[in-house]
């Protein structure tokens, strides 16, 4: 494991060049200790350059100063729109290979400390009209409702049971939520490639009562989208793998257009394809209400 702050030789030529003291022979001998080398005569502009690099880490490529938590925070805080609408086709594949298809629509909106999500299934017929409403409250437990046409009214459901499967998919309620980086201890593991995209690989161990003992995430450097997650169960065995198989920009916002969630133990797979994505449409608050659920 490479220590934070140390640069791997040969990978970042630009920085290596800046920090090669042999290049900066000069009159000023007041060189910070970490630049000490054979030639202490470092010119003023070299120091200025170093200061600039420290102040603007974007000038250098690579994880020179970002910790695991910072990387995860950059992912969590990336621009994903004030609100979003997705039309999704979902395919459930069991171990025999037989498939069940579902269609759903997802509406989501940020309200400072509150994220509201409304999901409704539009196909097939036996599940059409089923709706899910979630108000993710930052400080407290989430408020969640499920509407089943057979019930005729929205029912309050237990949000703390996040280990339960979301409508028989390979996603649990915990997986459906945006996970605040403060809920985990993050460790930068390495840089790697996934699907030919350079990534930061971060291990996250939950501080709270999660169904997983840890998650290993591949954070795409360019988009800061998490494009792969390996989920480990309480015994430490790998349980599920989430992958983004197609990443693209929609309305200028990076979108995981195709994803898979594979349960390695159950040998079951959920594939999702974003048919339509729209951001910053000014979604009405009324969408995220109980009366809208009843209107399905």
């Amino acid at each position: 494991m490479r220590k934070r702050g140390r640069k791997k030789k040969g990978t970042k030529k630009g920085t290596f060049l800046f920090f090669n003291t042999n290049c900066f022979a000069g009159k000023n001998r007041n060189v910070p200790f970490f630049f000490a080398g054979k030639n202490r005569n470092v010119p003023f502009f070299s120091v200025l350059l170093i200061v600039l690099v420290l102040l603007y880490p974007g000038l250098t490529a690579g994880n020179d100063v970002l910790s695991g938590k910072e990387i995860m925070e950059s992912s969590f805080n990336r621009d994903d729109g004030r609100d979003a609408y997705f039309k999704i086709e979902m395919t459930l594949v069991d171990k025999s290979g037989s498939e069940r298809k579902r269609s759903l629509e997802i509406y989501t909106r940020d309200y400072d400390n509150l994220i509201k999500t409304f999901i409704k299934f539009t196909a097939p017929a036996d599940i059409a009209g089923t709706a899910f409403l979630s108000w993710e409250n930052a400080p407290g437990e989430d408020t969640q409702y499920l509407y089943l046409p057979a019930l005729g009214r929205p029912r309050r459901i237990v949000s703390s049971q996040k280990n339960l499967s979301f409508v028989n998919t390979d996603f649990t309620y915990e997986d459906m939520q945006r996970r605040n980086p403060d809920k985990d201890e993050h460790t930068f593991i390495r840089e790697d490639y996934f699907d030919a995209r350079p990534c930061y690989v971060i291990e996250s161990k939950p501080k709270d009562n999660s169904q997983y003992s840890r998650r290993v995430s591949w954070v795409d450097k360019e988009s800061r989208v998490i494009i792969r997650i390996d989920f480990y169960d309480k015994k430490g065995d790998i349980l599920k793998v989430f992958k983004v198989t197609h990443l693209d920009k929609r309305d200028g916002i990076w979108t995981a257009v195709r994803t898979t969630m594979e349960n390695l133990k159950e040998k079951h797979l959920t594939r999702m394809r974003v048919v339509e994505a729209r951001y910053n449409q000014g979604l009405a608050d009324e969408i995220f209400t109980l009366r809208n659920m009843e209107g399905q």
Binding site: D94, R153, N168
Partner: protein, 478 residues
């Protein structure tokens, strides 16, 4: 009462009703008819359809009556049309249903019905919603139980073989919702009265089964047959009139208080289930015989030499006021809910079977939970008590009922096992309803289920002790 009586097809052909509905839905030759969404750009119109074809074949466990064979077929075809007129912020909902029944007897009886179900126009504006037309409404927080959910009448022609939501009958109403920041005020106005559908005679699921027929075709004297044959039930004349005097209304104020969803209710409505009211004091003897059909009570009735007026009972639907509250929240890993109602002027029968009205209270509490193995259970307890109690038939002063539901799915939701039961602790009668459903792809599902009823003859479930049955259901949803 039929909403759309099409005499040409009566008693004829269920499939004809299906064809009519399909034709009314813009033709059977349009591609993608089922679940087809039409969008008209000029009107900004979105028209979606969905529906089902459901067929049940019932098999009674016992051959307990010569008046109905043990096999029975019930077919229903329904199509729901949802037309959104986005430019007008409006929604038009029109739902149609065709039904066919075959009660297999010595002469096979068939009946077909063609029904207009929900049909209403809804206008949605920021801050309020207004709808008018034939609608159903669901109030209260408990499942499959009626405490506060009293606005919409229900169809009990097959008792509770269908779930509450399926039994509900749409009726003409004006509904208004006003949305405030943290709460919602909902009001309903029903200009006309519609009773719940309930048979008293002539069906396996009638309150008094085939009692009249068994006397008429049994080994009884001519006098007995004549007396019993003249027993008649009348609907209350006034309630059949379409006047404002029969109007009903209800109000609900709902909101959230510290993570609990709660509501306060007031309703001024007619009792949807009829209570039989005597026209003369001899009518009490009629009711005594109907509820306890013993030879002694029969002889006692016949011995009174009753006139037609004595043998006529009125299906009374008194006006009742309901004040209620409900709430729903989460307690740890359990969902919790409850509702309570004070009912002013509920109808009862005294010990001598005379008609009386009293006030009563019902309180229901429920919890539900899903285990880590994905087993879902729902338990509800209802406690009722009658104020200013005097000996009543068959109601006791304090009554308790427990209902429960257990659900477990297998094969990633393809195979579902469900067990529902209801137990009246006070009267020691109960019902159990197991059901296994397999979901194929593309909307097709098949179920095997049964109902078992036990208890005393005068109890809710006990009167159907001999009606235990199993049924096979095939449903295609589109």
């Amino acid at each position: 009462m039929r909403y759309l009586h099409c005499a040409i097809w009566k008693g004829n052909n269920f499939l004809a009703g299906v064809v009519i509905i399909l034709i009314l839905n813009a033709g059977i030759f349009l591609p993608g008819l089922y679940g087809y969404a039409i969008k008209d750009k000029d009107l900004n119109l979105a028209w979606t359809r969905k529906g089902y074809l459901k067929t049940r074949v019932y098999q009674d466990a016992k051959d307990d009556t010569p008046f109905e064979k043990q096999e029975d077929i019930d077919a229903r075809f329904r199509i729901d049309n949802r037309i959104e007129l986005k430019n007008l912020d409006a929604l038009l909902q029109i739902n149609l249903e065709a039904r066919g029944e075959a009660l297999i007897n010595e002469k096979t009886n068939k009946d077909a019905d063609f029904l207009l179900k929900e049909a209403y126009l809804e206008i949605k504006k920021p801050g309020y919603t207004f709808s008018f037309g034939r609608q159903t409404i669901t109030w209260g927080k408990l499942d499959d139980v009626v405490i506060l959910d009293r606005i919409s009448p229900q169809e009990y022609n097959r008792f509770i073989l269908y779930d509450k939501q399926e039994r509900k009958l749409p009726e003409l109403m004006l509904k208004f919702d006003y949305f405030l920041d943290n709460c919602q005020l909902e009001g309903v106005f029903l200009p006309l009265f519609k009773a719940s559908k309930l048979k008293f005679f002539g069906s396996d699921w009638a309150v008094y089964d085939h009692l009249i027929e068994s006397i008429q075709y049994g080994d009884y004297s001519g006098l007995v047959k004549n007396t019993i044959g003249r027993i008649k039930l009348e609907e209350k004349d006034r309630l059949k009139e379409n006047t404002a005097k029969n109007a009903q209304f209800g109000l609900r104020l709902s909101g959230r208080l510290k993570d609990v969803d709660c509501g306060i209710y007031y309703m001024n409505i007619y009792q949807d289930m009829p209570t039989l009211r005597e026209k003369t004091p001899v009518g009490n003897a009629v009711k005594r015989f109907l509820n306890h059909p013993t030879d002694e009570n029969l002889a006692s009735l016949v011995g009174l030499n009753p006139m037609d007026e004595d043998l006529t009972l009125i299906e009374e639907h008194p006006r009742v006021q309901v004040i209620g509250v409900d709430g729903e929240g989460v307690l740890g890993n359990f969902g919790a809910r409850g509702e309570a109602g004070l009912f002013l002027g509920q109808p009862y029968l005294r010990g001598d079977f005379s008609y009386v009205r009293k006030n009563s209270v019902s309180i229901g509490l429920g919890i539900d939970h899903t285990t880590s193995n994905n087993i879902y259970f729902n338990l509800q307890v209802i406690q009722s008590f009658i104020l200013n109690y005097e000996p009543l038939f068959p109601d006791e002063e304090y009554t308790q009922q427990i209902t429960s539901t257990l659900t477990k799915d297998f094969l990633n939701g393809s195979l579902i096992f469900k067990l529902k039961d209801s137990y009246n602790l006070s009267y020691n009668d109960w019902m159990i309803n197991p059901k296994i459903t397999y979901k194929f792809n593309d909307g097709l599902e098949a179920s095997l289920a049964g109902f078992i009823f036990e208890g005393g003859i005068t109890t809710l479930f006990g009167r159907y002790t001999n009606k235990d049955l199993i049924y096979l259901e095939v449903e295609y949803k589109f």
